[in-house]
Symmetry: C2
Subunit: 348 residues, 2 copies
């Protein structure tokens, strides 16, 4: 891109959601006297007797975890969605509209080790998690009334994770959630009007331009999207046109495990902390349509901006107007690209 985007306030368009974001590249010098976060530290214990996710421990409501040695899945003890509800619909004057929502919420432990994170697990162990995600997508998505399977991870206290034990969640439900809904519309429109796939075309453009690429391998590319909102946001895209995790080949699954390890290691190395983020996969809805427009990807939304303790606040203008960022996608990508892929805790 030209120099103008490096220095001039501008807005950029997100073709996946159809929304704009505001970029203020000159604003990085702003002093900070606001809230300072506790620097996130990795958990210290391999096994924590107080943790409700560690193997063999007690959970809420009298459940007890098995002595699992790899991954472990269970129904969320405080599920936001439930399968066994009485359905209803309400519409008062087209202004008060409500519909019951059936769903299933699950918790996925990535490892028996309380002190690990994806960045500190070895690729074969991460591969087991990839296979579990894929298997859950099949199992949950296979139910006739489940039309979307949202796989995600909240990592770190700053992102509302209530437990440092490495784990993610799945919320699967009958209506397609807002964000994948917008992406579906955009992908469909792009395909209809241009005859190609939005994200396939992005991958081509971005791997050629290189300036927003963080790292890549045979199957995946991790890049800071042109329209990133969060300071170090990353879009992880499969190189091949794949609609979901289940169609990935054996080597593509290994490639996904590899890039997850490398990306999260770069993240931890950025400020030499256990880097907080929310991440999740967007895949085709499980509504028995073919969804050729859908291209599998994951979003990483990390909150930190300047240091281990100063985050970006998405508040007043962001909530009421348009999301605003202080560093360009290109400069964020450059910083992430220049980092080592050896984890700072593994260095001599």
């Amino acid at each position: 891109m030209s120099d103008a985007t490096k220095s001039t306030p501008h807005r950029r368009f997100n073709p996946l959601t159809g929304e704009w974001i505001l970029v203020s590249p000159h604003r990085t010098q702003r002093p900070w006297q606001g809230q300072v976060e506790k620097a996130p530290r990795p958990a210290a214990l391999e096994y924590d007797p107080e943790c409700y996710l560690c193997p063999g421990n007690a959970r809420a409501g009298g459940h007890r975890n098995p002595p699992y040695i790899s991954t472990f899945v269970f129904e969320n003890d405080y599920a936001a969605l439930k399968p066994d509800i009485v359905e209803f619909e309400r519409n008062e004057s087209g202004l008060l509209i409500a519909q019951s929502e059936r769903g299933i919420c699950r918790v996925l432990c990535f490892s028996p080790r309380h002190d690990l994170t994806l960045s500190r697990m070895d690729p074969p162990a991460i591969r087991t998690v990839v296979d579990l995600w894929s298997q859950q997508y099949v199992e949950l998505g296979g139910k006739s009334w489940i039309n979307y399977v949202q796989i995600f991870e909240n990592r770190g206290e700053m992102m509302g994770a209530s437990n440092p034990h490495p784990h993610g969640q799945i919320w699967a439900n009958s209506s397609v959630p807002n964000e994948p809904g917008k992406e579906q519309l955009s992908q469909q429109k792009y395909r209809d009007s241009r005859g190609s796939c939005l994200l396939c075309d992005c991958v081509k453009l971005e791997t050629k331009a290189a300036e927003r690429v963080v790292c890549e391998n045979g199957g995946f590319v991790a890049l800071v999207p042109f329209w990133a909102v969060w300071p170090f946001e990353v879009l992880l895209v499969s190189k091949r046109h794949a609609r979901d995790l289940t169609v990935l080949s054996d080597s593509e699954r290994d490639a996904l495990a590899d890039i997850l390890k490398r990306l999260t290691t770069r993240y931890d190395n950025l400020f030499e902390i256990s880097f907080p983020y929310s991440m999740g996969f967007h895949q085709a809805p499980t509504d028995a349509q073919s969804h050729d427009e859908w291209h599998l990807h994951a979003h990483f939304y990390p909150p930190l901006l300047r240091s281990a303790s100063v985050r970006k606040f998405m508040v007043g203008y962001e909530m009421l107007g348009t999301p605003q960022r202080d560093i360009t996608a290109e400069s964020a990508a450059k910083r992430l690209r220049e980092l080592s892929e050896v984890h700072y805790l593994d260095r001599e």
Copy 2:
């Protein structure tokens, strides 16, 4: 509403933005082991020699505040938007789209007193702030190239405010931001199809139903919208169809000052702290169209959920799927409605 919305997971539709939210009313019993916030305290000093917003003090870049005795406005020293830019446009393959964005960012001190908040100012002083907002809307909106004037306040460290001194901001720019853009579309569509105003009809419905009303006076009603996202979110609406602050009568401006005081006092009384929030006004764009569809309102987005120290995190599922809430709008309204309008710090 029927009992089903009190106990069954469901989604509700926001007719102002056209988006859905997820309600999980049974989820309030969930234990919390996650991040605990510092309880927000009011500032202790009436005048803080270190504060860059107090009268007479030095700011960034060699500026000094006048010894102001009521309100005070200045251009943001670290503005996200600037008026004097070289305009540009970029479009690579319809995928990398950027446009320069001209704008003006201002800071508005509500009071010379460092230790006050809107909730602790007297109604005539708040009325001065209302008049200032209106005057700024006229002055900034009057510039031919400014098409939107976003007035907002980030209150409290938890909401990214970098200074406790009572102040708000205005970001005024040439393109209409995302949120008012969506609201404009919805209000226009509603008016076109039904011949009446969306928010006028809402006010009628809500004042009659009463269960989501927090407080009201002759000019305004404060209610928890049916489609609220944040636990104690409030929509403040003018009773009369007014497109912006400037058309309010003298008594309506007093009514706005009155309800701002009463609502923010209830907020502070909820957990007996200086209640954090982001708030802002949505008004007609200043693009020289008549905008009969627009109805003036303010949104209050407070982050706290259970107590002074446990907030709602809008993270994984909210970022990647759909916003989710754990208490119903009706129960939040009831709690706010039952609170006193005497500030807890003023009680004997």
